[in-house]
Each structure stands twice: as C-alpha cells, then as structure tokens.
C-alpha cells in the first residue's frame, strides 16, 4: 500500500510543482529569460494567502480570486519597469537582475515578516479522506490539485484559442517574426511575466497550508521548477505540466523507498541526467532553435 500512497501524494504534490513550473516555462518561452526570482514569487503567494486568512479570514482557496489579479498586475509592472529592460542583454545581466530582484523580495519579506516561519491553519488543514487500504488523501492537497487542473486547462485554452494566447506562442516561437506580424512583443513579455507571476503565486497560496511559510520558502521550489522545465523542454508549457507530475512522483517514490533525505538528491541527479541525455527535454521543441 506504500506504493499507492506514494503514487497519490506524488501526483498531488506534482500538481503544485507543475503549476509553478508552467509559469517559469511561459516566461522562458516568451522572453528567453530564466527567472531566478520565481521561488520568491511563490513565497509572495504564500504570504498573501496567510495574511488574507489571518486578517480577513478569507479561505486560502477563495483568496486565489484576489491573489491572481493582484500578482498578475505585480508581475506585469515588474516586467515593464525592470525585467523587460534587459531582454536584449547578455544572459549574465538577466541572471543578475532576476537574482537581485529575488533577493530584494526575500529580504523585504524578512524585514516585514521576520524569519519566524508562519503556519496557516484552517479548519481542514490536516483533514484527509481515507481510501480503502489505509491510504489517506490530504484535503488541502486534493483541493489544490483540482484547482491546478482547472488552471492548467484554462491556460491551455488561453494559449491555444485566444488571440493574445496565440500571439504569446508566436512570440515564443520566433520573436522577430512575431514583431513583423504586428505583435507588440514587449507587451507580450509583460503579459507572460504577469501570468508567470500569477501561476507561481497561486501555487504558493495553495501550498500555504502544507508548508512552513518563511521568506526563503520559495527556494526549494526554484530548483524544482528548473528541473521540471528542463525535463518538459524549456519553453513548453504542457511539458512543464507533465514534468511537474513526474518530479512529484519521483520525489514521493524516493522518499518511500530510499529515504526522505534522498529525495532532493534524486531530483538533482535526474536534472543532470536529463541535461546530459536529453537536453531538449521530453517535449523538446522541434524545428527552429
């Protein structure tokens, strides 16, 4: 039964990883920038969920309705004022800027909220459903998985069917050609970064009941998001969704059958192995680039 328990918790955790990684992948695809502040954007979502609950008693999942537009606007503005300025610069500059931006965020959080970890406890934080065979499914994780699925579907439809979504894809496939179609690519970058921020913050808000909330809580997710993006093929949003589930499963299985201490090592080894064996990822891009 250990297997099924790990399978289920792996998939549920993987969903959250997927959500965060899709945001990173979208930003990478459209802007060709690796966002090292992605973990801090998750941390932002965690604190927002925490304070909306503490101060206004808003359930973390309902709070998404506030957090999503807020963080989209935040990301949009950050891109316009900061990240967008280095889009044509060498990648060292871009890395320095996003790392620096992340540091500013985490240190601001440190000043504002101190380093004491916060715990968000709702009435159902530790409730779970029992399935036959002694398997338990955490309610918050199940809810977050369901919402993740809905968000993924919404993102997919947005990218596939809407005019702006198609323009985002076009920009990610060939920025220069997109400009020649009359697409305002700097606006697309802002939208991509806003959407990436929204996805990271939503992921953060949804795990706020499951993980400790502190200014550096996003760090562990940064490496995971990178691993997932590389696994799924950099810039491929659907690849990131699948990659997230894969990493969730790998972690759960290695915690179950090796030891909890080994799960990060296994993920990291996997990261290196993919880079060596399949640098374009499982869903790597065909054709150009």
């Amino acid at each position: 039964m250990l297997f099924f328990q790990s399978l289920i918790s792996g998939i549920l955790t993987g969903g959250v990883y997927a959500l965060a990684a899709m945001g990173m992948s979208l930003v990478f695809g459209v802007m060709n920038i690796s966002n090292f502040a992605h973990g801090e954007l998750m941390m932002l979502g965690m604190y927002l969920a925490y304070y909306l609950f503490i101060l206004f008693n808003i359930d973390p999942f309902i709070a998404l309705l506030i957090i999503m537009p807020l963080t989209f606007g935040f990301g949009y503005a950050v891109e316009k004022t900061m990240i967008g300025r280095v889009i044509d610069h060498p990648s060292e500059n871009q890395i320095l800027l996003t790392v620096g931006f992340g540091l500013i965020m985490s240190n601001t959080a440190l000043l504002a909220f101190t380093s004491d970890p916060k715990i968000l406890t709702t009435s159902y934080s530790s409730s779970s459903i029992s399935l036959p065979g002694d398997i338990s499914v955490s309610i918050p994780m199940l809810l977050s998985f369901i919402i993740t699925c809905a968000l993924t579907a919404a993102l997919y439809l947005f990218l596939a069917k809407t005019k702006t979504g198609m323009a985002l894809r076009a920009t990610s496939q060939n920025r220069e050609a997109a400009q020649l179609m009359g697409i305002d690519v700097s606006r697309m970058s802002s939208i991509a970064f806003g959407t990436g921020t929204l996805l990271a913050a939503s992921a953060g808000a949804m795990i706020a009941q499951t993980y400790y909330i502190d200014p550096f809580a996003g760090h562990t997710f940064l490496l995971k998001s990178f691993t997932i993006c590389v696994l799924g093929g950099l810039g491929s949003v659907i690849g990131a969704a699948v990659g997230g589930i894969v990493i969730g499963l790998v972690e759960a299985m290695s915690s179950a059958y090796l030891s909890t201490d080994w799960k990060d090592v296994v993920v990291f080894v996997l990261f290196l192995a993919i880079l060596l064996l399949r640098p374009r990822g499982l869903f790597g891009r065909k054709g150009e680039q």
Binding site: A170, L180, G182, R285, K286, G287
Partner: protein, 231 residues
C-alpha cells in the same frame, strides 16, 4: 510612396548602411541586388523597425523611423524576412491567423486570396509549419505576409534554397501580387530573374546604392553583368 534619405544603420558599433537614399513608387516592383553582406537585409530591417536607424524613412509622407515594428506593420509595410521565420509549432492556419493579427476582419477575404495564390497551402492547413518543406515554408511566409494586407510588401530572398521550378512559381506569384495593387520591394540573389520581374532596381554595395535604373537597363549594364551575372 517610401522615401529614404541619408539613412545610417547598423548593429552595436558596426555601421552597415552608410547614408543610403532611395525611393519606391506606388505600384511598382522594385529590386535591390547586391553581394552577400552588402546590407540588403539590414536595409529591410531598418525599414520595418527591427534595426534602429538615423536619417529619414518616410512612408506616404510620414516619418516612420523610430517607430516600433508593430506600429510600422500597422501603417501597411509588411516584411517577409530572409529565411522564412515561420512559426514552426503552429499549423499553417495558425501561421496565417498570426499574419492577420492586425486586421482580423479581413481574414476570410485574404485567406481566399492566398489560397488561390498558393493552392498547396490549402491542402496543408493543419500541418505544422516546421514540418513543411523549404519551398512550402517560403509560400507560407509570403502568404502570411499577405494576410496583413500590405500596401508595401518587402520580400527578402524569397527564392533562397528553392528549386528552379519553385523559384519560377514564386516569381509568378510576385507578379500576381503586384497586379493586385501591392507595391513590392524585392531583395534577391537571383539577380537576372528578379531584375526581369521588376520595374526598377538598385544595386547596393557595402551599405550604399551604387547604381539604379529600370530592370532592363540594369540587366544590360556591363558593371552588373560583370559583378553578378558572370559575363
């Protein structure tokens, strides 16, 4: 229709175009020929706003250099870049939809028009751009440009890498496009064929115009013959 005066442009510290001047008359097919590295593609990029320039480019009386590329497309100048640059993971249909990004209202009419120009595309509507052959990609690139309903269509080496048969059909579609009222600026390595298909031409050398004349005059010019036609 387009007046370029004393244009300078380049990349980072490297100047490419050196006080270049030329003009395009409404309704004509104009060729620009020149050796590799002469700056032909850079000139088109300067016109479409991909490369910054100093000097003046004015289109129908208004200055356009300094505008963002999407604003220039809005004015009716469409640039089909060298090397096709279609969207590889989009279908033919989606590529064409992107071409009509700024005027979706005319989508149907333009779609019928490009399908009658390139019937092969209408058989491949669901195929991914990246999986098409080079010639098909070139057709798609031109068709995608036409979807933007250009007043001035700039084609950068549309026959690059195409077999003689495909090249022939690209040139005949350029004729049709021109007859439909679009002004065409053509950059080509295929000097003889492109000058024949053009009303006028310019010869470019290291960033400046060195010769100009009607297509016929240039083909018969001894300098052109020596430099490009190996005669």
């Amino acid at each position: 229709m387009l007046e370029i005066c004393d244009l300078n442009a380049g990349y980072d510290d490297m100047p490419v175009l050196k006080s270049l001047s030329l003009s395009i008359v409404e309704g004509e097919v104009l060729s620009i020929v020149g050796n590799n590295g002469a700056g032909k593609s850079t000139l088109l990029k300067a016109i479409s706003g991909l490369v910054r320039s100093t000097g003046s480019i004015s289109f129908r009386g208004t200055r356009i250099n300094g505008l963002k590329p999407h604003a220039i497309v809005q004015k009716g100048i469409v640039h089909v870049p060298e090397g096709r640059k279609i969207f590889p993971e989009m279908t033919v249909d989606e590529n064409l939809t992107m071409g009509a990004f700024l005027n979706p209202k005319e989508y149907r009419r333009h779609l019928d028009m490009v399908f009658s120009l390139f019937p092969r595309l209408s058989e491949r509507r669901k195929q991914l751009g990246g999986t098409m052959s080079g010639g098909e990609q070139q057709m798609l690139a031109i068709a995608r440009g036409l979807m933007g309903s250009p007043k001035l269509l700039m084609l950068d080496e549309p026959s690059l890498g195409l077999s003689p048969l495909f090249t022939e059909s690209v040139f005949s579609s350029i004729g049709e496009i021109s007859r439909s009222g679009v002004t065409v600026l053509l950059v080509e390595q295929n000097v003889c064929q492109s000058l024949e298909a053009s009303d006028r031409g310019y010869v470019m050398e290291t960033g400046s115009i060195v010769l100009s004349g009607t297509g016929r005059e240039l083909i018969e010019n001894p300098q052109v013959k020596r430099a490009f036609l190996g005669m």
